[in-house]
Every structure is written in structure tokens, then in C-alpha cells.
Amino acid sequence: MLKFRLEERAKSPYWLIILSPFIAILVAIILAGMLIILAGANPFESYYQLIIGAFGSKNSFAETLARATPIILTGLAASIAFRAKFWNIGAEGQLYFGALATTFFGTGLVVLPSVLMIPFLFVIGALAGGLLLLPLVLLKLYYKVDEVVTTLLLNFVVVLLVSYLLEGPWKDPMSLGWPQGKSVIDEGVLPQVLSKTRLHLGFIISIGLAFSVWFILSKTVIGYRIKSVGLNASAASHAGIPIFKTVLIVAILSGGMAGMAGVTETAGLKGYLTLDLSPGFGYAGIAVAMLANLNPIGVIFSGVFLASIYVGADAMSRAMNVPTYLADVIVALTVLCILLSLVFVHYKILFFKAKKDD
């Protein structure tokens, strides 16, 4: 019987580190290709349609970037949190909370000139996302309540809250019975950056935020602390690094990023809050962060990649009659393949022969 054992590499070769996400994507695409065959379509043509759908015209390219905006932000949220081994799976809920805050403050309660109104909405959205996460962080720190489960559970609560508000007190009377919020005032709406497309300022802002996060994580004491707490919290605490404060900062930053994704969707793309604001952007963020190996700059690229899959899959589905859920399958496969590639990056697999017992 052939047995194997993992041996940790002293140093992982650079080519492997750089190449591994691409190999993972390739494998995911090949595996998903088999599903396309199962659906009775030609995988090459289907992928061609997918690429055309995502990048084939100015409009589709702009649509891809617009879709990437919230995904980059939730990807940043996951990157920051996962670096500190704080498993925030609640970006979906934090996104909606950010959207709620945008609707609350942005539909007339506060009126400021555009240059102030837009930053104001982002700050409010970030605060809302961070605030939603805060009690769960405290539960984790004080009572050791696992944050994976609490953040996941809270996603459902928030969506139900949004549903209540949109069907009840916050329902826009002009929406003809459709559950949606009031429109964000003109000063708060994120301007288009490419005329006659849906690409808005939020994309530029999300890229700016990615660079800021990168800067914070790699150049500052806060980033250093986050890294040490994530890699070995006990050792960090023994060296006097304040675990509590660090995790709190992580949570606020992480929840804040996801909250801002709610702002870009409400004030940017739609202009008002709906119940289907996010088709799982929060969960996509996890995939994006993993694909980028938790690197904030990498998140921009993996975010655009994932967005192109989602946008392109719609076009492919129409042209080839393959269910759009293929996009979700590709994303899920990518996560698993990345995980697999990380094992190979950090470990050598040694095979050895062993006879069967007895």
C-alpha cells in the first residue's frame, strides 16, 4: 500500500507561490468544464461566451468592474480578519447593515454637499458594519464563543431585519408595492466614472481602500500586531501585544470594509436598498481573499476575476443554456483548489511504501 506523509518545506519556492493561484483557477475551470459537458454544451465555446460576456464590450467590462466593487470590499474584510485568525463569515450581514445605515442617513435625514455627503456615507456604512461585528467580537473575547457560527447566524437576522424594514416602516411609498427603500438623495449618489455604464465611483474607492489596507497591514504597527496575533496569539500576548485591542481593531476594520460594500451597492449601483441587494457578495469575499492569499492588492485582481465569472456566466447561460449556478460552482471549486495548492506550497508530499497491516 502506498502511504504518504507531509513534510513542511523550510522555504517555499517563489515560482510555486506565484503560480499556485493560477494553477488552482485552471483546475477549477477544468472541473467546471466537465459540468458544462454534462449540461450538453461545448466547454470551450461556453468559456468563450463567458469571457465575451465579461470583457467583450465597454459595457460588459464596466459591468464586471461594477460587480467587482462590493466583492473587493468584502474580500478585504475577509483578508483582514483571516490574517488575525478571526473568522468573520458575516460580511453578508455587515454589508446589509452598511446598506441600512446608508438608507437611514442618506435618504434625506442628513443633507450635505456631494464632496462631504459621499465620504460621510462611507464612514457611516463602515461604522455600521463594524458595530454589527462588535458584540460578536466581545462574545469571542470574553466568553470564547466561536465567531464563525455567530457571524453566520447573524447574517440571517440582518436579512430578516432588512426584510421587515422594507416591507414595513422604510418601504418607499413610490415603489408600487415592491419592497424597496427610499432613494438615496442626489448628493449621496456615487457618480458614474464611465459614461453610459453602471461603473461608479465606488470602484475607484474600493481600489483606494485596498491600497490603504495593504499599507496598514505591511507598514504599520497595527499591521504588525495583526500578523503576530494571527500567527501566534499566545506568543504575541506574552510579548505585551494587546490581544484584545488588536482583535477589536481587526473586527472594526473588517466589519467596516463589508459595511462599505453596502454603501457602494446602495448609493452607487441601485440608488436604493432592496432585499436582493447582495446575491452572496459576503460569501464571495471569502473566496476572493483566499484566492489572493489574503493580500489586499491581490484582492483587487481576484475580485475582478470573480466578478467576471459572475457577469460572464449570465451571458454564457443565455447563449449556451447552462445554468448560471455554474458561476457559483466555479467559485466554490476555486476556493477548494486554492486550499489544496496552499498545502502543496507549504508542504512536500513524500510517498513511501508500507505493507498493509497484518
Binding site: 507531509l6 462574545l139 464563525v148 447566524l153 471569502i286 483566499m290 466554490a332 477548494l336 486550499l339 496552499l342
Partner: protein, 315 residues
């Protein structure tokens, strides 16, 4: 106010409690098996979802109901095996693997459903398990309709608890699972393959989760909807903590939880005009969080939970 108390004295309330509890019981017990062996299985939500789809689809395509359960069992085992390869043999992050499995299992389930039934706007129905009357017992007043007029699937779920209890407490495998989650080195030193034990636990646990999902489409309802699991998997994970990783307490926890849920549905009908239904729907999720907080103080995690075991590592 008296109506709110009267609810718990109706047989319908108790029957509903058991109906609601069944998928949770199966899923929670499945998760207990995984976690006792040291593997957190966050694939639960997706595995339940694909179990629900596969079980239903098998029956829809002409097989009988028990074959449907078997199909769910098999698909659950397959995803459990995938999870085990990642987390047990390769030592990958249990958190990310679990999320990845959930994403894959649910999206694959939806994809296949759409592939087989592309155009259906209203979900097609099957003839699900029908209640059977247990001789004599079902004729008891109150107790009969409350506890002895359920579907065979329900009794199977209860049987699964007995099975898990027996497995954990009276078999070498159960003992090995408990040791694998506490001190895998100790298990290895006794000549038992830790990888194998953990893999068996995860596969078996995942199979139960998928069957829990299938309960929804084969017994509780008669159709498959997207998002019909609706967080039940995550609630099960909270229940595991609440149950201190014990199958018998998982049964109690799930019943308690389902009781509250059954109660809120009935209370909602009474108070629906005053309190919006969304708040009732939030209750299970909020309760789960509360349950975890309550349990967190006294609970003792399996020590090796989340920690991959690597053989022949230099210490």
C-alpha cells in the same frame, strides 16, 4: 394571555416540535461525530442542501422514498470524504474547507436541479412519507397524535440518536473517535490510524447531515426549494456546543429548540398583527447565539478540535 399557554397543551404543538426537530437532530448528531473526532465540519449547510436535493430528485425520478434516503446518505458521504481528504489527510484549514464545501455542495445541488428541471417555475412535488399509526399507542389521547402518528422517517431519525449513543459509548470506534478529538497522539500510540478514525467520523457525520436535509424534502415537505435549509446547518453547529458534544444532549437540545420554534409559529398566528413575522423568524438564530453564550461558560471543547494531526512529525 391564556391562549399563549394553551399552545403547549395541544397535540399539534408537540407533533410539530418533533417534525421540526428531526432535521436538526440528524444534522446535530452528524456534527457531533465530526467534532468529537477533532474536525469542525462547516460543510454542514451545503451538505444538508445537496442531501435535500438528491434525496428529493431520486424520488422525483421514480425511485421509492427509502432509495431517496439512501441517495442522500451516499452524496453526504462523498462530500464528507472530500472534507476528510482536505482536513484530515492534508491538514488544510477546517474553517475554509468547510465554507468551501458548503459553497460547492449547495451550488452543485442547485446546478444539477436546474439542469434536470430547467423550466420549472413552481417547484414540482412528490408524494412524501406518510404518517403511520403505531398500533395501540397512536390511539392514546393526546400522546397518540403528539408522538405516535409520525412518518417512518421521523422514527428513523430517533433511531439515529440511539445508534449514535451506542456508537459513542459502547464500541471501540466510538472510543477511538473520542480519543482522536482529545489526544490523537495517544490514539496513534495505541496502534490505531488516526486518519482513518477521523475520516470515518467525518464521512458518517456528513452522511447524517445529508439525511437531515433529505428529511425536509421527503418527510416534512414535498418539494425542493433553493435556500430551503435556511441556516439549519449553522443552528446545528450552535446546538453541538449547547449539547456539550453528546448525542443524547443533542436530542434534547434539538427538541427544546424545535419546541421554541413550533411555539413561535403558533404564537405568531396569535400575535401576528402586533409583531411582524420577521421577528419571529429571527428567533431561532438569536436563540442559537444565546445558546452558545450560555454553553460557552461551562463547556469543554474537544481538545484537538481544529488541530490537524500530522504523522511522523518531529517534536
Amino acid at each position: 394571555m391564556i391562549e399563549f399557554i394553551e399552545i403547549i397543551f395541544t397535540a399539534g404543538f408537540w407533533a410539530a416540535t418533533i417534525r421540526i426537530a428531526c432535521p436538526l437532530i440528524l444534522a446535530t448528531i452528524g456534527e457531533v461525530l465530526c467534532e468529537r473526532a477533532g474536525v469542525l465540519n462547516l460543510g454542514i449547510e451545503g451538505i444538508m442542501s445537496i442531501g435535500a436535493m438528491v434525496g428529493w430528485m431520486t424520488v422525483f425520478l421514480g425511485a421509492d422514498l427509502y432509495t431517496g434516503i439512501l441517495a442522500a446518505l451516499i452524496i453526504g458521504s462523498i462530500f464528507g470524504l472530500l472534507h476528510a481528504i482536505f482536513t484530515v489527510y492534508l491538514g488544510a484549514s477546517q474553517h475554509v474547507t468547510g465554507i468551501g464545501i458548503t459553497m460547492l455542495a449547495s451550488s452543485l445541488g442547485f446546478f444539477c436541479f436546474k439542469l434536470i428541471l430547467p423550466a420549472s417555475t413552481t417547484p414540482p412535488k412528490i408524494k412524501p412519507f406518510q404518517p403511520i399509526d403505531i398500533p395501540f399507542l397512536s390511539e392514546l389521547p393526546f400522546l397518540g397524535p403528539a408522538f405516535f402518528q409520525h412518518t417512518p422517517f421521523t422514527y428513523l431519525a430517533i433511531l439515529a440518536v440511539v445508534f449514535a449513543f451506542w456508537l459513542m459509548n459502547s464500541t471501540p470506534l466510538g472510543l477511538s473517535i473520542k480519543m482522536a478529538g482529545e489526544n490523537p497522539m495517544a490514539l496513534e500510540a495505541q496502534g490505531i490510524d488516526v486518519f482513518l478514525v477521523r475520516t470515518i467520523a467525518v464521512v458518517l457525520g456528513s452522511a447524517l447531515m445529508a439525511v437531515g436535509g433529505a428529511y425536509l424534502t421527503l418527510s416534512a415537505f414535498d418539494a425542493f426549494y433553493f435556500g430551503m435549509i435556511n441556516g439549519r446547518g449553522w443552528i446545528a453547529i450552535a446546538l453541538v456546543v449547547f449539547a456539550s458534544w453528546k448525542p443524547e444532549r443533542a436530542l434534547l437540545g434539538a427538541l427544546l429548540f424545535a419546541g421554541l420554534d413550533a411555539y413561535q409559529v403558533r404564537a405568531q398566528q396569535l400575535a401576528g398583527a402586533v409583531i411582524p413575522y420577521q421577528f419571529f423568524l429571527m428567533l431561532p438564530f438569536l436563540l442559537s447565539i444565546v445558546a452558545m453564550v450560555i454553553a460557552a461558560k461551562r463547556t469543554r471543547y474537544p481538545k484537538a478540535l481544529l488541530i490537524p494531526f500530522r504523522r511522523g512529525e518531529r517534536h
